[in-house]
């Protein structure tokens, strides 16, 4: 079951590590975008199976990016998983209200990501 993921994270090192881990364990294709705007364009063009979205990014943060993805009929159906350092209580409430599919907290071992994503998205 080959999948295509899009990671939107302004930390290039994290993008690289995620890509390496997922590709090695599951062989999935991983596309990357380093900010919200580029991520939205990539999502429209590539229609990935899921998006891993960093919450805290400069300019357009994860929540704004998620709202923009939801507002666009082309990308609204793509499941989104937030990547965040240990989520704060207030953030959690906000995430719940938004309707995201799940949260993966940093730090994570990238080798575990395919399994965690599969569980969240019931793949």
């Amino acid at each position: 079951m080959n999948k295509r993921l899009l990671t939107i994270d302004d930390e290039e090192a994290i993008q690289i590590v995620i890509k390496f881990g997922i590709k090695m364990v599951a062989g999935w294709e991983v596309l990357s975008a380093s900010n919200g705007k580029t991520g939205i364009v990539t999502a429209q063009r590539e229609l990935p199976d899921a998006i891993l979205l960093d919450v805290m990014m400069p300019e357009m943060d994860g929540i704004a990016t998620f709202k923009a993805l939801q507002a666009n009929p082309i990308t609204a159906g793509i499941p989104v998983i937030f990547l965040t350092a240990k989520a704060q209580a207030a953030e959690k409430r906000q995430f719940n209200d938004l309707g995201i599919r799940g949260v993966i907290t940093k730090p994570f071992n990238s080798l575990d990501l395919p399994d965690r994503i599969s569980k969240i998205l019931d793949w």
Partner: protein, 630 residues
């Protein structure tokens, strides 16, 4: 349950932390009101124990602030004023209960239990679910009246489920509730604790799915008599709205990554870290500029917010590179840079200290040094709670013998490591006997999870009771009083070597006819024989053959067998070697002399090959069995 303790008196913090931990609570302790606010508004707690007289922000104000912001966590106030006004003021500020100092510790823990009870769905003092009973007061658990022995985490998990028995708890929720805020356990750790809890429940007759899995959502107590309607559940956080069929098998599947994958991943992290490290140092330099401005009282909110974001990013990056120690320092910086934390000059100074420490941590570590992702292939030795100097010596000695060591500061840390160690368990474990009960618990856990692994308990004290306790729990006792690190290492490693399938036996005898025939006599019984007629060459041959057992004649020219035996017994490497004497003398005095010199057995010529082989095998078997029970 996780408790936040906000108290500036160190003695009370120590006392309460110990007492609450004894009651299976996880305690986060902070010593001023502002840190109390930061923690209470960041993490989930079952209850807050809050002193009124606190630096920076007093308990009453903090209580009002929390209630004003909508936090409903039960609060127990600690007050030194035993008058109605103080109590009314506290309760009006939103506290749920109060205790007057000096307090009786058992009363305080009972009040905490009562608060937890009131805030849980299950308000009864005894928690139950079907045939399962948990008594939070005595910490006893039974299923169908059969007592259950649980580890702290297993107990905590069960209590969490029982307190809110219709709820589905996600992995993150469980980690938030049951691990200290400074701990970042892997999800596999939670799964591992759950799996063992399920096994223990099943062993006393509970159904296999007593704790069910809602795939992709979390864990819950399954219906008693299947009467519970799935629609009654609410999923924590409501992230997932539609319940899906649970899938125990899927849950029990843990991603096992091969050593090659782990090794490739580690190598990749190291390579990537080379280019990431300078970026982290640049980020830290940006933070340091803001910290310096803060120290000068010259920092605006925007700069501080920006530095806070950078520190937040650093936490994530360092964590993904498995640099746990550095990540924890970055986390402290992130908390202090949060705009809602009012910084005193002292806190600003400690911020500066954290920045310097983080700089050193980033500059001097790389992913290969982290215990989270150990080096592949070399056998692992876990060194737990040992003195730093001994850790250092053992690590150096181990490296010479191609062993890798992992140093863990506490048994708690060892538990976490062991239950997330996946496909690479340690070859052996060396642990200090500092806290006997906890150490024995570790031995039991290791035996459950890795029955073939050895736990060596090191103790300065040479006490029969200690030895018995260790042996009865399946560990091995090493008294370190007269041993240097090399001897400690040898004592452990020598017992790891599996008994050779073809044991090597060295036979020393000046009877050349006997030496010519003996190999043919013994080889059919699976023994590899080396013979030696000249005792002068004994030591050289011994070192080169490294025999598993030795057979000595008594009477030999120049050096007799008794002397060789004494030489062997006086050397630590050969103290355990099985030594058999084979002699034409069958007089009691010769036998006595042989045993006095350190012999394990005494045989008389002539002797059948099968009988000699049998006696040698018997000694080897005794040695192995002694190793397994020592």
């Amino acid at each position: 349950m996780k408790i936040l303790l906000i108290e500036d008196d160190d003695a009370i913090v120590t006392l309460l932390t110990r007492s609450l931990s004894d009651q299976h609570h996880i305690v986060d302790a902070v010593n001023d009101g502002e840190m109390g606010w930061t923690y209470a508004s960041t993490f989930d707690y079952g209850a807050i124990v809050l002193d009124i007289m606190l630096p920076k922000l007093d308990g009453i104000s903090l209580c009002k602030k929390l209630r004003g912001a909508g936090y409903t966590t039960p609060i127990l106030l600690l007050t030194s004023q035993d008058n109605a006004t103080a109590k009314v003021q506290g309760l009006d500020a939103g506290a749920d209960d109060y205790v007057v100092k000096p307090f009786d510790i058992s009363e305080l823990t009972a009040r905490v239990r009562a608060l937890l009870r009131r805030s849980s769905i299950n308000p009864l003092p005894l928690l139950s679910w079907g045939d399962l009973m948990l008594n939070p007061s005595s910490c006893e658990v039974s299923y169908n009246q059969q007592p259950l022995t649980l580890t702290t985490k297993e107990y905590d998990l069960l209590e969490l489920f029982l307190r809110d028995s219709y709820r589905v708890f996600s992995n993150d929720e469980i980690i938030d509730r049951l691990w200290s805020s400074d701990d970042y356990p892997a999800e596999a750790t939670v799964r591992s604790h759950l799996r063992r809890l399920r096994h223990k429940l099943q062993a006393v007759g509970a159904p296999p799915d007593f704790i069910g899995t809602m795939h992709g959502r979390g864990y819950y107590l399954t219906s008693v008599q299947n009467a519970l309607d799935a629609t009654h559940r609410h999923v924590v956080g409501a992230i997932h709205e539609l319940p899906l069929p649970h899938d125990c098998d899927r849950d029990n599947f843990q991603p096992i990554h091969s050593s090659q994958q782990q090794a490739a991943y580690l190598a990749f992290l190291q390579d990537t870290w080379v280019t990431t490290k300078p970026q982290c140092l640049v980020s830290l330099a940006e933070i340091e500029i803001v910290v310096d401005l803060l120290l000068l009282g010259n920092c605006n909110d925007d700069d501080r917010q920006a530095a806070h974001q950078i520190s937040h990013k650093l936490v994530g990056t360092l964590g993904v590179f498995a640099l746990t120690a550095a990540m924890k320092i970055a986390r402290q910086i992130e908390i202090l840079l949060n705009r809602s934390t009012i910084l005193s000059s002292q806190a600003a100074l400690s911020l500066k200290t954290y920045v310097v420490e983080l700089g050193q941590a980033i500059a001097t570590t790389d992913p290969s040094q982290q215990t989270d992702i150990p080096q592949p292939d070399l056998p692992l030795l876990l060194l737990i709670d040992l003195d730093p100097a001994l850790n250092q010596s053992l690590t150096a000695i181990a490296a010479n013998f191609s062993y890798q060591t992992i140093v863990l500061a506490s048994i708690e840390a060892a538990d976490r490591y062991l239950f997330s160690s996946g496909d690479r368990p340690p070859a052996a474990i060396l642990v200090n006997f500092r806290v006997p009960q906890t150490t024995l618990g570790l031995i039991q856990n290791v035996r459950l999870r890795f029955p073939e692994r050895l736990v060596f308990v090191l103790s300065e004290r040479d006490d029969l009771k200690d030895r018995l306790a260790v042996i009865r729990n399946g560990g091995k006792f090493i008294c370190t009083r007269k041993l240097n690190p090399e001897q400690i290492f040898t004592a452990a490693i020598s017992r790891l070597a599996p008994i050779s399938t073809t044991p090597k036996v060295m036979i020393v005898d000046d009877d050349l006819d006997w030496l010519r025939t003996v190999p043919n006599l013994l080889q059919p019984w699976g023994l590899k024989i080396t013979t030696l007629a000249d005792p002068q060459q004994f030591w050289d041959v011994l070192q080169s053959v490294q025999p598993d057992a030795i057979v000595l004649d008594i009477q030999m020219p120049e050096i007799n067998g008794l002397e060789l035996c004494q030489v062997l017994r006086s050397d630590p490497q050969w103290q355990q070697l099985p030594i058999l004497f084979l002699s034409v003398s069958n007089d009691p005095l010769s036998q006595q002399a042989a045993f006095k010199a350190g012999a394990d057995d005494y045989l008389c010529k002539p002797m059948m090959g099968s009988e000699l082989a049998d006696r040698i095998r018997h000694r080897l078997a005794r040695l192995t069995s002694r190793d397994c029970t020592n």
